[in-house]
């Protein structure tokens, strides 16, 4: 239930998130002036928070997609399997997000 809702919620978050990629590329196309404004927004605490949540949405939605691929083969529908998958989805999404941000901050 919760993970199904989260799959949709993160999907819609990513839908909105594509605007940020568009904003970044369009600003760069216009030059360093507009790009500087975008950098300032992305580097602000609220920008970083939004980007962090988007990273999580991306990984959570990605792993949720694998769950759907498994279900498409007709497997993984038992009660234990569904709960196990939901837990793996939640933990995996958070873990990948932290790894990506750790790599981003340290390297």
């Amino acid at each position: 239930m919760v993970t199904s809702f989260l799959h949709r919620a993160t999907g819609m978050g990513l839908y909105a998130g594509t605007v940020l990629l568009a904003l970044w590329f369009v600003a760069a196309a216009y030059g360093d002036g507009p790009l500087g404004v975008v950098h300032w927004i992305f580097a602000s605490w609220i920008g970083q928070l939004v980007l962090f949540l988007l990273t999580w949405s991306l990984f959570h939605h990605l792993l949720g997609g694998f769950r759907h691929f498994l279900w498409d083969t007709g497997r993984g529908f038992s009660r234990e399997a569904r709960f196990g998958l939901a837990r793996a989805n939640l933990v995996g999404g958070l873990l990948l997000t932290l790894i990506a941000w750790a790599a981003f901050v340290w390297f």
Binding site: M12, T18, F25, A28, G31, D32, A43, L62, F66
Partner: protein, 128 residues
Amino acid sequence: MAIPEKTIANPTTRYGAARSSSWRFIVQRATGALNVAFTVFLIWLVVRLASADAISMGDLLANPIVAMVTGLMIISTAIHMQIGMREVIEDYVHDDKLNRLCLLLNTLVAAVIALATLAALAKLVFWG
């Protein structure tokens, strides 16, 4: 036209467009699988270009492989998000007129975002 609840609850009845619904089912999975690879690429691209100036962005994106993968990523993502949001609208917006309006707006928004990003990419690739 509203679909009566009896029809929806019965899996043997047919309603909606079987052909285009099956097509969307397949495309959503195909673009989803592609997007797994594009996610790895996107993480690399963002880490590589974070706080880079316009010249360095143009330099990296002008690489033919990077340019092509970025372009395909934008298209695949736009299609995937259009179908995904369409499903949500189909599930929650029941008023017929509003439903049509939402579906139309969804397609327009996905197209505008994709075209704007592609145009900016083309500018960076061909004119630096």
